[in-house]
């Protein structure tokens, strides 16, 4: 009994101080190793800062101009090497009738559309095409849910996927309210529209915008007050898809009927 008490005495006095000293020095060493490591990695990953410019890109889709020919979908597939059966952009056909809304998008609209069945056409009140794609939200849910940081928002407003780092867990595919994401069937990673970041960086327009013959798709910089998107953004009536999701999409739809979801 006496012995144990003596042990505790020892612990209370000199040894506890010693233990704390060791512990503190150990923690300090770990902290220093950590900090030096972090500093080194930060120095290497500075690429994005040099490219950071004062741009805020936006995309405008004019429902009244789309003819649904599917050239944009084909151009996107060729430009971005999109596997068959999945689409980075696609065109939907809406047929509004008294009974409800018919929506179809055969092969993403890539080969155009056949006429609707006579039965639906008889009931049709209005019909139009809606091109869809990644909305490059200001507040993207897909970026929030990515467990490894493989999807991110670039300083210019592009939501991009790091194909080398993506695990393919498809959590982002579920998180996107617009269904714009898919798992690339060849690379087995998450894939989506990049607004043709590689083209825009070289001063070109996205492939779908260049392919559009009627001007239904417009892309540009909101920071440039003379650009087409700025003029439409400031002057026209536009809507975004699913505004109640609070994702702040950067694709603005002109003359979007309220039936479109």
């Amino acid at each position: 009994m006496k012995k144990i008490a003596a042990d505790f005495d020892e612990l209370d006095s000199v040894s506890r101080r010693k233990f704390l000293q060791y512990a503190m020095s150990g923690a300090a060493t770990i902290l220093m190793v950590q900090m030096s490591g972090a500093a080194a990695t930060q120095g290497r990953g500075k690429g994005w800062k040099q490219m950071s410019t004062k741009h805020q890109y936006a995309y405008v889709i004019d429902i009244n101009k789309c003819i649904g020919w599917g050239g944009c979908v084909r151009a996107c597939g060729q430009e971005n090497d999109v596997p068959e059966g999945v689409f980075r952009t696609w065109v939907e056909r809406y047929v509004l009738t008294e009974d409800g809304v018919y929506v179809d998008s055969p092969k993403g609209g890539s080969e155009g559309f056949e006429p609707v069945s006579a039965e639906i056409q008889k009931k049709a009140k209005r019909s139009f095409f809606v091109p869809k794609m990644c909305n490059h939200c200001e507040n993207p849910p897909c970026v929030q849910v990515c467990p490894v940081g493989a999807t991110y928002k670039s300083p210019e407003g592009f939501v991009l996927v790091d194909h080398d780092y993506c695990l393919g867990c498809a959590y982002c595919v579920q998180a996107c309210p617009y269904g714009a994401r898919f798992i690339n069937t060849e690379k087995h990673v998450s894939d989506k529209c990049t607004w043709c970041y590689h083209r825009v960086k070289k001063g070109k327009q996205p492939a779908c915008v260049e392919a559009c013959p009627t001007g239904a798709r417009i892309f540009g910089d909101l920071m440039d007050p003379e650009s087409d998107v700025s003029l439409i953004f400031n002057d026209s009536q536009w809507m975004v898809l699913k505004p109640d999701m609070y994702t702040s999409p950067m694709c603005f739809y002109v003359e979007l009927p309220r039936e479109v979801v």
């Binding site: 144990i4 042990d7 505790f8 020892e10 612990l11 233990f19 060791y22 770990i30 190793v33 490591g37 972090a38 990695t41 930060q42 990953g45 500075k46 690429g47 994005w48 490219m51 789309c66 003819i67 649904g68 020919w69 599917g70 050239g71 151009a75 060729q78 430009e79 971005n80 809406y94 047929v95 080969e111 155009g112 559309f113 006429p115 609707v116 049709a124 019909s127 139009f128 095409f129 940081g149 493989a150 991110y152 670039s154 991009l160 790091d162 080398d164 780092y165 990049t194 970041y197 590689h198 083209r199 960086k201 070289k202 070109k204 327009q205 492939a207 260049e210 392919a211 013959p213 009627t214």
Partner: protein, 158 residues
């Protein structure tokens, strides 16, 4: 043999704790890419990699480099708003580097190519030229079914 005291247990626990932290840091170091950017929380080089992907379509301005006369001529015609590559195929299949690798011929010269845009559909905007059923009678009047036999693809007059 060394005497086991209450202090020994504490030392062992401390050693285990430190070992765990060291292993965690090593695994973390190994799993984190070297170009990871802690400020923005993504791989810094990824932006450069996505930006350096090769172009497939060059746009009409790249056609102008070699075919300035054609581009200038078409820019005054009815189909001036069309991308050359929509019918002629993307630039990457025509030119590599500065050398021509294949002719940019329009593979699909059938009426399907024209009807892809101009077939009549209720969903198309009003005012867009669409071929009604009458065109069927019109084409059967002429031998064969190729629109391009009479109409110029760059300047299709009604």
């Amino acid at each position: 043999m060394k005497k086991i005291t209450a202090l020994t247990h504490l030392y062992r626990l401390g050693a285990l704790f430190i070992a765990f932290i060291i292993v965690f840091l090593l695994v973390r170091q190994w799993a984190t890419p070297s170009d990871w950017n802690y400020e923005v929380w993504y791989r810094g080089d990824s932006l450069t990699e996505v930006g350096n992907l090769p172009l497939t379509h060059g746009g009409n301005e790249s056609c102008q480099v070699c075919h300035a006369d054609v581009v200038k001529k078409v820019s005054k015609l009815r189909h001036k708003n069309l991308s050359c590559e929509s019918c002629h195929g993307p630039l990457a299949t025509h030119v590599r580097g500065e050398k021509k690798i294949a002719d940019a011929i329009v593979i699909n010269q059938s009426r399907g190519q024209c009807l892809n845009c101009h077939a009549e559909l209720v969903s198309k905007p009003q005012g867009f030229p669409q071929f009604t059923d009458e065109v069927e009678k019109h084409t059967t009047l002429i031998e064969g079914e190729v629109c391009l036999k009479c109409h110029d693809a760059h300047d299709p007059t009604p």
